[in-house]
């Protein structure tokens, strides 16, 4: 029987609960555990687990800085973040932009961790529904901004930021 392999890189206070919750699940195996630092990246790169459970409750800028490295060195590993309640959306959004495929509130660990891991393994995202409409709004807004920027730019010219006074703006008819 093929197991879903998971590397658990959680803060000490979450580690045991995460491991126990996953061990209870049939078809899921905890391949290794590590503190959520540089060691987690190295472990994921070496073991190439199906899922990396990565704590996002502390030193979050460091985690963000490391995420592209995980995507690059363990491309098949899906990253599921463990978050604190009321984590700033900006941080979550940036983590998703850098390759995380989902996040789970640490309060939901026993109840939903198994489901979240299975979802990521199945090629799905694990994101609260209320976040989906925000993500969509953001996508539409950024896509529109990109279109406007492309239209406003003179052909062949670099896009200028608003900090400079506009030199000469040629608007396509």
């Amino acid at each position: 029987m093929a197991f879903i392999t998971v590397v658990v890189a959680a803060e000490p206070r979450h580690q045991a609960l995460c491991r126990r919750s996953l061990e209870r699940e049939s078809g899921i195996a905890v391949a290794a555990e590590a503190p959520p630092g540089a060691g987690a990246l190295a472990l994921a790169a070496r073991l190439r687990p199906d899922v990396l459970l990565l704590d996002f409750t502390r030193a979050r800028l460091d985690v963000l800085a490391r995420l592209p490295g995980i995507r690059h060195r363990a491309a098949g590993t899906r990253v599921l973040l463990l978050t604190a309640p009321r984590t700033a959306e900006t941080l979550i959004l940036e983590a998703l932009n850098r390759g995380a495929r989902g996040y789970l509130d640490d309060a939901a660990i026993p109840a939903l961790l198994g489901r979240a891991v299975r979802a990521l393994h199945a090629g799905e995202a694990w994101v609260p529904r209320r976040m989906v409409s925000k993500l969509l709004d953001r996508l539409l807004r950024l896509a529109e901004a990109e279109r406007k920027a492309r239209r406003a730019a003179a052909p062949g010219a670099r896009r200028r930021s608003s900090a400079h006074a506009p030199l000469r703006r040629e608007v396509a008819p």
Binding site: L61, D62, P68, L96, G99, R130, L135, A143, R159, A163
Partner: protein, 237 residues
């Protein structure tokens, strides 16, 4: 042909919050869904439309909170019609039913303004849940489609990160130093110590940086700086 109102009441009035407009040219689908949905929790009345004209009339009369639209309904062929529906009744959330929904099609649909996307053969229980969530303002798409949404957003951000490099060039060397220290999590005092300047000077630098880049917070600045520094772009190594 007027949409058939369940109670037989033909008075024109807007739909109540528990009402649903079900649109399909397929009598079997109408029967299957209408029967089950009428008994679903949170759904009061199910109004029926059989073709595009019927849908447009019902939307204008009822402004139902949710429209469940079978895409094979006569008169509906292309995605632009979703925008047309929103124009007719901006408060109506549309859930599309499609034959074999591909993830790409589902994402296109919600980008065009649909609030949900289900398979035509979906279990009525699932459809009822979708209706409930859409009424609450959420979006109903499968988790695979959610992943696509995230990936598209991610690609867009990667393109912006490339442009961020251009923007970083607007800063002076000192301002870039301050930005990198902010990105490493340093406080103003730590930055001042590190650069051998006063905290007041650090704050002045930050004010200039925020003005030049159009940010309002350290967090945005930190993330922006990280984007450029760690190469969160798709053109990695």
């Amino acid at each position: 042909m007027r949409p058939r109102l369940r109670s037989g009441n033909h008075v024109r009035r807007p739909a109540a919050s528990g009402d649903l407009l079900l649109a399909s040219s397929d009598p079997a689908l109408r029967r299957r869904l209408a029967t089950r949905l009428r008994h679903a929790p949170g759904i009061a009345r199910v109004h029926i439309a059989r073709d595009r004209a019927g849908v447009e009339r019902a939307l204008a009369e009822l402004h139902p909170p949710v429209l469940l639209l079978d895409l094979s309904t006569r008169g509906f062929r292309r995605l632009e019609t979703v925008r047309g529906i929103r124009a007719l009744s901006p408060t109506t959330g549309t859930i599309l039913l499609a034959e074999s929904p591909s993830d790409a099609a589902a994402l296109r649909a919600v980008k065009a303004g649909a609030r949900g996307y289900c398979a035509r053969a979906a279990e009525p229980g699932l459809v009822a849940r979708a209706i409930q969530l859409v009424r609450q303002g959420e979006i109903w798409i499968g988790r695979k489609v959610m992943l696509r949404l995230i990936e598209e957003l991610s690609a867009l951000h990667a393109r912006r990160a490339e442009e961020a490099e251009d923007r970083l060039a607007l800063l002076t060397r000192r301002e870039r130093q301050v930005s990198h220290l902010v990105a490493s999590g340093a406080s103003n005092k730590e930055i001042a110590d590190r650069l051998a300047i006063t905290e007041k000077t650090v704050k002045a630098h930050l004010t200039h940086i925020f003005q030049k880049l159009g940010f309002q917070s350290r967090l945005h600045l930190a993330i922006f700086t990280l984007q450029v520094a760690s190469g969160a772009t798709t053109k990695v190594q």
